[in-house]
């Protein structure tokens, strides 16, 4: 019972304790004290009517006790602190405030004043409840480095006084962007790891989707819905994306019967929901592109004209050479490899994506299809030199053999 409650509710209790105690470390200690007390008392005295409320108030009293015992705090500090706890305690049981606490926690962990890697680490630690060791493993970072990152971030929250607030409507779009960026980064690190031997790392993607669902439940903004849709649609292809031998399988070569139809359906419904709301943006449009792929029976039968149109919409909002590159690949599917190749070569000629492996891989692939095998070989070799990821390296080598 207590174990199950820890899994389902410990993050909510923590989020409220951080608000009540105004301190991450004190709140974590209080959380563990409260669960320890539950393990002792509940078997003896029975489970309280509202276990979560019990945990919050027990944690809060344990923290006040700890403060009183602490010799470092003089009478004045203690008095001020106790008053604050009492005053702020009034609202804590209000259901809305408690749900807001989880949102506060997300926005605080993803505050742009924290270093990007610290935002990711702190979110996984505090919002998802992953251990420092688990996060370190997932990001192939030494655990002490990661622990240090979290300690520094918490110190900055305390010393620079980063507030425990959901941003005001005027600040919301920008601050929400930062939250979405963290969630998508966690997802991508799980879906397409930047280094290492595996094609995908399921644990991180799962955490990102859980975070995305939580965010949509708490704050159903178009872009939050769009990001969740995008992640679910990518996730639906996970099984088809890797061959039995662990090799990468490109979208157009995937066995579409392996796509998870339940995830596809959920993703498609979310895309429609996102696009019907004001302020939809780059995540919703990317999800829409993914949804067009999801409903096509094969690569050839895909509505490439619609995909090119969506990339145009995306490029208007977020002009970037990477989006141009993706659009070029869609143009090649719609109008033939020569049309796409002309765009890719124009991008490369500007020097924008000179070190971007996908740009060289795309040029190589389009050259191969256009029968320009010598040029294909040169570009595959360039892509090979730039990749750091083992399954991708094997894929490029296999392609290289096909043009040799």
């Amino acid at each position: 019972m207590v174990d199950a409650l820890y899994v389902s509710d410990s993050r909510r209790v923590l989020a409220t304790l951080i608000r009540l105690l105004g301190d991450f470390d004190a709140a974590e200690e209080a959380l563990h004290d409260a669960f320890r007390a539950a393990l002792e008392q509940w078997p003896r005295e029975g489970v309280p009517a509202n276990p979560r409320a019990w945990l919050v108030s027990t944690g809060r009293f344990k923290a006040i006790d700890a403060k009183r015992r602490g010799a470092r705090f003089d009478a004045f500090d203690e008095d001020v602190h106790a008053k604050r706890l009492v005053v702020e305690g009034v609202a804590w049981e209000d259901g809305e405030a408690v749900e807001d606490d989880r949102l506060r926690l997300i926005f605080t962990c993803c505050h742009p004043a924290l270093a990007p890697d610290a935002q990711v680490a702190l979110t996984l630690r505090e919002v998802c409840g992953l251990s420092t060791e688990e996060i370190a493993r997932a990001f192939l970072t030494p655990a002490p480095t990661l622990a240090q990152r979290i300690v520094r971030a918490k110190a900055k929250i305390r010393d620079a006084r980063i507030p425990y607030h959901v941003p005001a409507p005027a600040e919301l779009p920008e601050r929400l962007d930062a939250v979405l960026r963290v969630i998508y980064l966690v997802f991508n690190e799980g879906y397409a790891p930047s280094s290492g031997t595996a094609v995908t790392r399921h644990d991180l993607s799962g955490e990102a989707i859980r975070l995305g669902r939580l965010l949509v439940a708490l704050l159903p903004e178009a872009e939050a819905i769009g990001l969740l849709a995008l992640m679910l649609l990518h996730e639906s292809r996970r099984a088809a994306r890797t061959s039995p031998s662990g090799d990468l399988v490109l979208l157009e070569e995937q066995d579409r019967s392996q796509w998870d139809r339940a995830l596809v359906a959920e993703g498609q419904a979310l895309v429609e929901r996102a696009l019907s709301r004001p302020r939809f943006g780059v995540y919703a449009i990317q999800a829409a592109i993914s949804a067009v792929h999801a409903e096509a029976p094969s690569a050839a039968a895909t509505d490439w004209a619609q995909i090119v149109g969506l990339y145009d919409a995306l490029a208007r909002r977020d002009p970037s050479p990477v989006i141009e590159l993706n659009r070029a690949v869609a143009v090649a599917m719609r109008d033939g490899p020569a049309a796409g190749l002309a765009i890719v070569e124009a991008i490369l000629a500007r020097g924008d994506l000179a070190d971007y492996r996908q740009a060289h891989a795309a040029r190589a692939e389009l050259c191969r299809r256009a029968g320009r095998t010598a040029e294909a070989r040169v570009s595959f070799e360039r892509a090979l030199a730039l990749t750091r990821q083992e399954p991708e390296r094997r894929w490029i080598e296999q392609r290289l053999r096909s043009v040799s």
């Binding site: 620079a160 980063i162 607030h165």
Partner: protein, 110 residues
């Protein structure tokens, strides 16, 4: 809580924002109760660095940081939290020419 907003500008941009605009925005921030004190600084060439080592005074020319931007001025502000401090910093005119570093003030331990 007090925050010190340090304004950094490249040499060539030291006078990019006219003085009267800085004075006006400072007066506005003061009227809003957020500004405690603000000053612009003479260029870094006028700076002198003072150190005391083993009781001996050492005085040298300038700071030696090899950065393109130099400290051009400062605003000591009063803000509820970092979010409010960031809002105030965004109202400092040179923020659009250079950068503003926002640092919480540490109370000395008696």
């Amino acid at each position: 809580m007090k925050y010190l907003c340090l304004v950094y500008l490249e040499d060539r941009k030291l006078h990019a924002v006219p003085d009267h605009e800085c004075a006006a925005s400072g007066a506005k921030l003061r009227a809003d109760g957020m500004l405690l004190v603000a000053e612009a600084l003479q260029p870094v060439e006028t700076a002198t660095t003072v150190r005391v080592r083993n009781g001996r005074l050492s005085v040298t020319d300038g700071p030696f940081a090899e950065t393109k931007e130099q400290l051009a001025g400062f605003y000591l502000i009063e803000a509820r939290d970092l979010n409010e401090a960031i809002q105030v910093a965004s109202r400092i005119p040179p923020a659009r020419e250079g950068s503003v570093e926002v640092r919480p003030v540490r109370e000395l331990v008696p």
